[in-house]
Symmetry: C2
Subunit: 354 residues, 2 copies
DNA sequence: AACCGTTTTGTTAACGTTACCAACAAAGAC
DNA sequence: GTCTTTGTTGGTAACGTTAACAAAACGGTT
């Protein structure tokens, strides 16, 4: 159970400190510090001598100690529901690329759709004294979330509104997205809808539901409660929930899915039930993940610029850390991408021929 | 450019220290420390009083300071080429789940297939004094990689061999995987092969090439150099490279792809060239990412248990950190998953009918 | 009341770094 | 040769925590 400090016992380069270097070079620690940080006011000869020892000992500044002194860790926290959902990796990449350029390191944490793990991660970020936090698609209720975020130096939430004094907000206009999808299906002639609404604690999901309801109401259609099923935002979640949905009577001829993974699960179920998509059933996804175009059939979905979402969020976070005026939240518009999973309903044809 | 220490100026819960709590409660810092760490030897009455102040001030231990004292940061580094490749998220999840249970925090870094960023990340991990590192699919040459890893307290590499005194190794038997794929295609009757070999600095790719060569040699077939094309391990990389490959004469009737993304790109190209997969062209992927079964057609590929790979690597890392006997590397076997992208070649039929 | 052992609490120093100020040396001004 | 001025270097303390030891308080014996 003892933890060896170094693997290679005789490695002199292990963990040399400023003092080690100072002693070896015959100068004070301060002088070494100045050399390391490229500060002026060191005689070239001294600098050379110190630098030689620095290299020889393989000195690496201890960022932990530096952070303790400076009360800054140069670390940012990024909290996402689950990197396994392809929506997030590119968002992470967007955030990471911006953070990297600004000299920050990212601590990534998945909370796996679990509120308690989300809260635990937020606490962990506090204890670690990260310089700022981005929380994607939080599942925590507002009060608890804000309590945590208020304790942070700076914070940005993605896919959620937030008061400017608590956190910046970068979000997708999910209501508009949902309306675009519904309008598309209405134009194709669909009248019987099903919704696989994702986790019920997702605010994005709630916004989409609102959009769906409004757009349908405008068309004089009411959506029955039983046609709305909440499910985990995964392929499995989609295939399970769609099994229930597609055995309802009347069977919906169009399904609006929480995201592309849920849509993928729905396609799978449809295949198993020998329902042809889009002939018997139209399916709309959400997010336009990279593989949506590869699905069978290629998925009609709403494109969300995830990389930019992450990059925006990170830029906003860095801005807030620097005390820049608190900008209003950023809202990006999703774009409807029509592919082959939606078409005019032909159920009647098929049924008459059956 | 000034960095405000707190967003909510009047938030008393901001960043209270042990001393703040001690003063408020009228005890010494040590006593508070004992309460925080749930150590015995504090009178219940005192403990209660301290705990009340602790809550009132919203004290959070400063892990940075604790780490400085203990020379342990409770942080582990995880370096991957690119989370955007669905191979990695589940590996990350595997590693993270194990690390989380053991009380460690993960610092994730993408090096985006860039050697210099890989080296920079490794240096960053050193400066941050992480307690251990896992490096996935390193692109760095052995000498440079080992130089970095030797400086770490503990290290594990995934998808690469390593001497036990430098790092643990968890890898997939890529040579066997490649041979399984080739054998499958040979059994179907294919004789003209193309290889989209991925990045030329990927050791996994090199192992697969070796496997392909051997298996073909055993069958008396030689693979022409020009039929091997290196490409980035992405969909774009695959579609670009396959364009070149599929316009060669004679056109290969079977393509072995570096991973499922490259295979996806190849399917796309085939569609554009009006080549039917699998009738005119068989395509084999690698990894069995979650969406491989959703592709058009469903992809024949080699299943790699990525989640377990990550979990194994993390367990091994924790073991090495605890000075457990250095186990020999773990090697997992990939499994051939036959779907619809491979079949007996029917090119001759089609050509005669054309 | 003096003594003991036990429990509870406090003091000091250290982890590695750097801000701040003091000390010193060298070079120039008179 | 003394007095600045400028340039270079060193000493001290502090960031927040905790290990190790020291001291006090307590309860019970004789």
């Amino acid at each position: 159970m003892t933890r060896p400090k170094r693997i290679v016992a005789d490695d002199p380069a292990g963990k040399a400190t400023l003092h080690d270097v100072a002693k070896q070079a015959g100068v004070s620690a301060m002088t070494v510090s100045r050399v390391v940080n490229e500060q002026p006011g060191v005689k070239p000869a001294t600098r050379d001598r110190v630098e030689r020892v620095l290299n020889q000992l393989g000195y690496r500044p201890n960022i932990v100690a530096r952070g303790l002194k400076a009360a800054e860790t140069n670390t940012l926290g990024l909290l996402v529901p689950d990197v396994t959902n392809p929506y997030f990796p590119s968002l992470v990449r967007g955030a990471e690329d911006v953070a990297f350029d600004a000299g920050y390191t990212l601590v990534l944490h998945n909370f796996i759709e679990d509120r308690e793990r989300e809260a635990a991660a937020l606490t962990m970020f506090e204890e670690r004294r990260v310089d700022g936090v981005i929380v994607c698609s939080p599942r925590l209720p507002e009060s608890r979330l804000h309590e945590h975020l208020a304790r942070q130096t700076a914070a940005v939430v993605v896919n959620r509104r937030a008061p400017a004094e608590i956190a910046g907000s970068v979000r997708v206009d999910h209501e508009v997205g949902a309306r675009l999808a519904v309008r598309h299906l209405l134009e194709l002639g669909h009248r019987t809808f099903g919704v696989l609404a994702g986790p019920d604690d997702s605010t994005a999901g709630q916004e989409r539901l609102a959009g769906i309801h409004e757009e349908l109401k405008a068309a004089g259609i009411t959506l029955q409660e039983a046609s709305i099923i909440h499910c985990p935002p995964t392929m499995k979640g989609g295939s399970d929930a769609s099994k229930v949905l597609l055995e309802r009577d009347p069977r919906p001829d169009a399904v609006l899915c929480f995201n592309d993974l849920v849509a993928a699960g729905t396609l799978e179920t449809a295949r198993n039930l020998n329902l042809s998509v889009p002939d018997n059933l139209s399916v709309v996804g959400y997010d336009d993940i990279a593989y949506a175009s590869m699905f069978t059939p290629a998925l009609t979905t709403l494109r969300v610029p995830t990389y930019e979402l992450g990059a925006h969020a990170m830029r906003m976070l860095l801005g807030r850390m620097n005390g820049e005026p608190r900008s209003i939240g950023i809202v990006v518009q999703p774009e409807l991408i029509v592919r082959n999973s939606t078409s005019t309903p032909r159920r009647t044809l098929q049924e008459s021929s059956a």
